[in-house]
Symmetry: C2
C-alpha cells in the first residue's frame, strides 16, 4: 500500500504564518519579527498541525527540498526542523523512504501497544468523512426568496457605480431599528456594513490596536479571532472561563495588570462553550471597560441562537455609558455563511475611523447580499424559530449519542450557540483530532480554541449537521477514542525541550 503524501503546497497552506511569534513569548522589537530560530518555529508549527490532525499520522511529509522551495527558506532550515521533529518522535524515517508523521510514545501509548500501532490502524481504507471542524448550518429555505427579493430591489442600485464601503441605507436602518428594539438606541450612521463579523473584527483591530499591544480574550475563544489578533501584531491575553461562565474578577485584574486597551468577548453563546453572560456580569463588564479605559469588542454572531426557553440577555452595549462597548454581528450564523454580510455598531467617530481605512482592505459589501439580508431580517422570527428547533433537536441527538458511546466524557451544554465543549477524561484532544480522520471524522482539537497549548482535555463538537451524520460522527469519535489510551500522558509535556 502506497504511503499517502502531503504536498509541499498543501503543507505550506496549512502552516499559514508559521514564523509568527509563539503566544506568550516575550515581546520582540517588532511584532512580526520572529524571536526563535526559523527551524524551531517551523518544527513547532508542523507539530501543531500533527496534533490537530491536519498532518495525519502515517502520511509522508514533502521532501526537504520541495518544502524549502515552497516556503522560500534554506534547505538547512527544513532539515533541522525535520531532525528536531524526529528527535521528539513526531516523524519516523524508514530506510530509503520519506519521513512519515507519528506521535511520540509519551503522547499515545497504552503500555502494550507501541506508538507505531497507530500507523497500522491507518492502513484501513478511508471512510466517508463528517467534517466537525466548523460550526455552521446549511441555508434556510427562505434564502432563495431572499435573493429574489434582492433581485427586485437591485435596479435602484444598478444606475450607480455600486461600490459601497458604508452599506446600503435600507440595511443600516433595519439593523439600527433592531438594536434600538433590543434596548440599544442606534442611528443608521452608527452602523457599518462589513463582509461578516470576522471582517468587522479585522477592521476594528486595524484601527484600535498598535503592534505588540495586548488584547484581552476569554479562554476558550473563537480561533479565527485569536489568529486575527496575532496577524495585526497584537498579543492575545487569555482570561480563563469558569465551567459555568465568566470570571469577572479575572477580567478586571487582567485588564488592570496588562493595560490592554482592547478586549474581544463573545458573551452571547460563547464559541465554543455556548455559555451566556448574565445581565449583572454585562453591567460589570461595561464598568470594567470604563475603569480601565478599555474598548470591548462584543461578538454577537451567535446572539440569535438562544436554545433555552428563557429570554435572551440585554445586549452588552446596553450597559455602556459611552463608547466602551463596540458590537460586531453577522448574518452567517443566523442565516447562511454563503451570504457575506456582517456589521459593526459603534459611535459615529469610530465608524468614521473604520471607513477612513477600509479602502486599504476592500472597497465595500456586495449590494445583492445586503438586500437579501434586509429580507431575511424581515422574516427572522420565522427563520430563527425553525433554526433553533433544529439546533435543539440536533443537540439532543448529539448528547444522547455521546451518553451512549462515550459515557465518560463530561458534556454540559451551554444556553445556546452551535457547539458543545466536551471535557475528556484525559488530555488526548490533539491525539484524538490527529487520528480521527482515519475513522471518518474531522475534529478541531481543543488547543485551537486557546493559546499556549491549553485545552488538551477539551474538544468542540458542533451540532450543526443533520442527526444521522451526528450519530455517525459520534460512532467514529468513539472508535478513535477507544484506540487511544484513556490515560495518555499530557501530549504537550514534551513541548519544553523544543525551545
Amino acid at each position: 500500500m502506497a504511503t499517502r503524501v502531503i504536498g509541499a503546497a498543501s503543507l505550506t497552506r496549512d502552516l499559514g504564518r508559521w514564523r509568527h511569534d509563539e503566544p506568550g513569548a516575550p515581546a520582540a522589537d517588532s511584532a512580526k519579527r520572529p524571536t526563535r530560530p526559523a527551524y524551531v518555529a517551523l518544527a513547532e508549527s508542523i507539530r501543531l498541525l500533527i496534533h490537530d490532525g491536519r498532518a495525519p499520522l502515517g502520511v509522508a511529509l514533502p521532501s526537504e527540498r520541495d518544502l524549502a522551495t515552497t516556503l522560500a527558506v534554506s534547505r538547512t532550515t527544513v532539515t533541522s526542523a525535520y531532525t528536531l521533529l524526529r528527535e521528539h518522535g513526531y516523524l519516523i524515517s524508514r530506510q530509503g523512504s520519506r519521513s512519515t508523521v507519528a506521535l511520540p510514545p509519551t503522547v499515545v501509548h497504552d503500555g502494550t501497544k507501541p506508538a507505531r500501532s497507530i500507523l497500522a490502524m491507518m492502513a484501513q481504507p478511508e471512510v466517508a468523512t463528517v467534517d466537525l471542524t466548523y460550526a455552521a448550518m446549511s441555508a434556510p429555505p427562505q434564502m432563495t426568496e431572499a435573493y429574489s427579493y434582492a433581485l427586485q430591489g437591485l435596479p435602484t442600485y444598478l444606475g450607480t457605480h455600486g461600490m459601497d464601503p458604508v452599506g446600503v441605507l435600507l440595511l443600516r436602518e433595519a439593523l439600527a431599528r433592531r438594536f434600538t428594539d433590543r434596548g440599544v438606541p442606534t442611528a443608521p450612521d452608527q452602523i457599518l456594513i462589513t463582509l461578516g463579523a470576522q471582517h468587522g473584527l479585522r477592521l476594528l483591530l486595524n484601527v484600535l490596536t498598535t503592534p505588540a499591544e495586548r488584547v484581552l480574550i476569554e479562554h476558550p475563544s473563537y480561533p479565527n479571532a485569536i489568529e486575527a489578533i496575532r496577524d495585526v501584531g497584537a498579543r492575545p491575553v487569555p482570561v480563563p472561563m469558569r465551567p459555568d461562565g465568566w470570571d469577572m474578577d479575572g477580567i478586571r485584574s487582567a485588564a488592570r495588570q496588562t493595560a490592554a486597551s482592547v478586549a474581544y468577548l463573545i458573551p452571547d453563546f460563547n464559541n465554543p462553550t455556548g455559555l451566556l453572560m448574565s445581565a449583572d456580569e454585562r453591567a460589570e463588564l461595561a464598568a470594567i471597560a470604563r475603569e480601565t479605559r478599555m474598548t470591548v469588542i462584543v461578538d454577537e454572531s451567535m446572539v440569535d441562537l438562544n436554545l433555552t426557553e428563557g429570554e435572551s440577555m440585554p445586549p452588552a452595549a446596553s450597559f455602556a455609558r459611552g463608547s466602551e462597548i463596540v458590537t460586531i454581528g453577522s448574518a452567517s450564523k443566523s442565516f447562511w455563511g454563503g451570504l457575506r454580510v456582517g456589521w459593526v455598531r459603534a459611535n459615529q467617530n469610530l465608524i468614521a475611523k473604520l471607513l477612513g481605512t477600509r479602502s486599504t482592505v476592500d472597497l465595500g459589501t456586495p449590494v445583492m447580499d445586503q438586500l437579501a439580508t434586509v429580507h431575511l431580517l424581515q422574516h427572522e422570527n420565522e427563520i430563527l424559530t425553525t433554526r433553533k428547533e433544529q439546533l435543539r433537536s440536533r443537540r439532543a441527538t448529539l448528547l444522547d449519542a455521546l451518553a451512549e458511546d462515550l459515557p465518560d466524557w463530561r458534556v454540559s451544554p451551554g444556553a445556546g450557540g452551535m457547539s458543545l465543549w466536551a471535557q475528556l477524561p484525559a488530555p488526548v484532544s490533539t491525539a484524538l483530532a490527529a487520528t480521527a480522520p482515519n475513522h471518518g471524522v474531522l475534529l478541531a482539537a481543543g488547543p485551537r480554541f486557546g493559546v499556549q497549548g491549553a485545552f488538551e482535555r477539551f474538544i468542540r463538537l458542533p451540532f450543526t449537521h443533520e442527526e444521522p451524520e451526528l450519530r455517525l460522527a459520534v460512532k467514529s469519535i468513539a472508535a478513535t477514542y477507544a484506540a487511544l489510551t484513556p490515560h495518555a500522558a499530557d501530549p504537550l509535556a514534551p513541548l519544553a525541550p523544543l525551545y
Copy 2:
C-alpha cells in the same frame, strides 16, 4: 449666511490613519510608529485634505475640543496643529468665530485678488454635483440576468455552510480557461477568488511584505494601492512614468538599488493615465523581476477596456518563466462595482499561502456574486463591446469639451481604461480640487495618485459618466479654473517649513 461646518466625526473619517509616517521619511524602528510630533502629522493631514478639496475652502473646522475628543488626542495637539495651519495660511480665524479653511496666498493668487477672494466665491449657492473622484460605471443591462442565472445555480450551494475562502470551482475554472486562452496556461487551483482586486492586493501584501519593506510602484499609480502598501507598513518606491509609457531602465535601477522584493504595476491601461505597456517592455519587466528576485503584482482591473482598434497586449504573466509575475483581476471595472468579485492568479504555493492567512481578514467571497460573475464572463464579448463603445464615445465627448472650454490643458488619451490624465499649464491641481466643489464638481487632485506631493500639474478626469454630465462637469471645471490664476506658484512649496 451661516458658515458651513465640518463635523468632528466627518473630519476624523477623512483623516483616516493620519499618524502614518510621511512617505519618504527615513525608516522608523517600527513601521507604524510616527516619527513626527503628533501635531505636525495632524496639521499635514488636514492640509492634504484642504488641497484635495475634502475640507472645502471657507468651511469651519470642528472646535479644538471636539476634534481632540474624537481623535483621542490631547487638546494641545489640536491647538498646535491649528496654530501651525494658521501660520501657513491654511486657516483663517475671525474674532469670536471658528477657524475656517483657506489656501495661502502662495497657492492661489493672481496679483490683484488676495486669497480671501476665494472665500467670497464660496458664498454662491451650492449647485448640483458631478462626482469625478471615481472611475467606475453603472451596471450593464445584463446584470439582472446574471443574478437570475446565479439564483438558478444557487440550490447546489444552499445545502453547504456556504463559507468559501477559495472560490466556487465553476468560476475558478472559467477564469483559468480565460487565462489559458490569453496565453497563460492556468489550472483552477492557481486561482483564488477574492472580494475584488484591492482585496487581492491586500492579501498579497500581507503575505509578501514585511514592515518597512520597499514596494516599487509606477508613478502615477492607483491611490488605494498606495494606501494599502502604507497600511501594511511597507513603503512605496515611485518610478516616474514617461509621458508615453514606462521607464524600464528606471524600473530596473530602482529594483536593484532599493532591493524591493515586491512591485505593484498596472501595465494594462494604467490608472490614471490609460497607458498600455508594450510586449517588449512586458518581456523586460519579467526579466527584471527574475534578475532582482522581485515579485511583480500586475493589476489587470482595466485589462478588458482596450479603447484602440488594435489588439491587446499579451498578459504580463505570459512572459514569466517561474513565479515572478502574480496577476490580480476584478469584475468591478469590466462589469460592475456592486459585484464584489476579484481574483489572484499565482502559482499553487502562493495561493496556498494566501489561503492560509485569509481567515484573519474575512471568511470568503459570496456565492451569489461568484455565480453571477460566471454568467457575465460567458457574455463578456457582448457586454464589453457595448461598454467600450460607451467609453470611446464618452472619452470623445470629454476631449471635445476640454478642447473647447480648457484649450490650454494638455490631454493625450491613453490606449484604454476609464480616465484621462490631464496636464495643467500650472501646478494648481490641489487648488482646483479644493475649489471645484463650489462649482458643482468633485475632483481628485493629482497628488492623490502619487507620493511625496507629486503631480500638482496633473488631474485625473474619468470618462465613466454619461455625456451630458461630462459636458456639465467640464463647464464647472473651466469655471473653477478661470477663478484660479493660471500661473500660481507651486502650492506644495511651503511644505518644508512644516517639518
